[in-house]
Amino acid sequence: MRVLTKTSLYYLLVSLVVFAVGGTVFYLSLREEIYDEVDDQLFTDKENIIAYIQKHDRLPNVTSGISEAIHVREADPENLVMEHLSDTLIYSTYDEEDIPFRKLTFTAYRQGKPYEYTIFKSLMDFDDLTESTVLAMIWIFLLLLIGLVFVNYYTNKYTWRHFYDTLARIKEYRLSHHQPLTLKESSTTEFEELNQVLQSMTGKIHSDFLNLKEFTENVSHEIQTPLAIVNSKIELFMQSENLTEEQAQMLSDMYGALNRLARLNKSLILLTRIENREFTAEEQVPLHRLLQEQLTHLQEIISMRGLELEVEQMEEVYVQMNSGLTDVLLQNLLNNAIKHNHPGGSIKVLLNRQKLCIRNTGEAPQDQPEKLFGRFRTGDDAVGSLGIGLALVKKICDLYGLLPKYNFKDGEHSLCIYFTK
């Protein structure tokens, strides 16, 4: 949940509680006040009625203006009500509903006889008042709420904008792009601190990354010369006339291992160089022509392994790439298709404006497809494979914004490179 939504919800919750409690308290105190007032009026009426009786020696009639309604009856001397306040409902034929009344029952003596008087006061006004108060409260609540949420949302959005900006930039940040992380200055202390921490952190990571890369690069380059020396010495050694078979075998093993190391090192250097974006020379490369060349080049190996090559489609396609890297890309794709195949299998090649697809028969992959593009990933059948080919393919695709997709279906691996971004 976003911070804005979260704080807005909290605001909503707190205001709901405040309004519920506030509304109840307000309602209760209002009621108390009105009851007080009505009761006061009833008592005043009572005084007036008693005074009237004493003065005129008769009951006041309804029109005398003293009370809204007076009910008089002879009191039961056994059971005298001296003074009693209560609520009652009286049905109004005019309004066709029960109307709440407050009544005061008391006993007054006239000519020595007790009479029970009941006077009524309508609480209709009170009801109306409560109703309009509650309504007003609801309106105020709604308006306040909307206002609050809006103000909160927009002020938050305003103050948090740098944070979201920072977040977006970190998401887009790639170490390998060698662009320093630049963040907008913020007047909010916390965000400014965050930015500074992030900037110094990425700066540190970047310099470490560069050091490490430089180290790998130097090591790879420096290894080439000793490799060349050992290689040449072994080769000279091999020319000796009087080698025993055992010695020859040892030399041969050394030589094989050394060659593997040399190949691995070359691939690693190439990979690093692609990462460093050192292949800047780009041109419109005729992909169909390069592909045809590679196929011709590999035709022999393909047929020697008993594979059948089928070119399903070969359109003229030009891509903006470095031609050397394009060769590496095609070589690795085709090598892969040959390597992870079985005798009597097939390789299908398809090239059109949208994609380049190379499909080959072979064992089902043991790895998850997305892991295939990592370094040193090899299937079990490919003994001695360096497992760096597809990593190279991925790197080259990344460099030129191409999309490689791998799929395995019905005993057929399919590796497609989509040209559209």
Partner: protein, 225 residues
């Protein structure tokens, strides 16, 4: 025929010189930029093998000055820089060939021979071992005057063998020579075997002897029996 080897790694320089000397070349060596310039200025070489990273300067400058002053000299660059575009730069400046370290001495030898042949230094248009003759200009081969019908790869293989006669050639170096160095083809060693088998058969069928010897587990040797 004089060949100059410019390489700052003494051990590697020694290997190259030793291998080339056995081929009958007169070898000179330089291990830094200034002595290399001095040697190229004072002598005329048939071929110069030059490393690009040298103490004191860039090997490319030596290539440039050679191109200006001794245009006939064949130039082969050897470099630890395994770069697709460095290769192109080297060739643009005027080098005849480019090898990345580590390389096979037999491959270097074959390339030196090829450069010399193209530059017409020894006037030897035909390579001959026993009854086997290879004419690189026509890309043809014959045994005792009888034309051999070879595939492209078999022809290249024969050329490689003839260029390195009496030398042990490893399967790895043959595979690299035939298919290029970025082919990480696992079974290429088996293919080498198949090609050699075919080539041997064709030579014998044409009436030749068995020139190709298997040397333990090391590789093959092309010798006149």
């Amino acid at each position: 025929m004089k060949v100059l080897v410019i390489e700052d790694e003494i051990a590697l320089k020694d290997s190259i010189v030793a291998y080339l000397k056995q081929e009958g070349y007169t070898c000179d060596a330089a291990t830094d930029y200034s002595s290399a310039l001095l040697k190229t200025a004072s002598h005329t070489y048939a071929c110069v093998v030059v490393d690009l990273t040298l103490p004191g300067g860039n090997g490319l400058n030596i290539v440039r000055s050679l191109k200006e002053n001794n245009a006939d000299t064949g130039i082969i660059i050897i470099s630890a820089k395994n770069a697709l575009d460095d290769k192109i730069t080297g060739l643009e400046v005027g080098a005849d060939d480019y090898l990345t370290k580590p390389f096979h001495l037999s491959e270097l030898n074959a390339r030196v021979k090829s450069v010399l042949r193209r530059r017409n230094f020894n006037g030897q248009k035909v390579l001959r071992v026993g009854e086997v003759e290879v004419q690189p200009d026509a890309a043809e081969a014959s045994v005792a005057g009888k034309q051999l019908t070879l595939t492209r790869k078999e022809y290249e293989l024969l050329l490689y063998f003839v260029s390195n006669r009496n030398r042990v050639l490893t399967k790895e170096s043959i595979a690299e020579y035939l298919w290029g160095d970025h082919i990480e083809m696992l079974d290429s060693l088996d293919f080498v075997y198949t090609h050699i088998k075919n080539l041997r058969r064709k030579i014998i069928e044409a009436g030749g002897q068995d020139y190709i010897q298997t040397v333990y587990g090391l590789g093959y040797k092309f010798t006149s029996p």
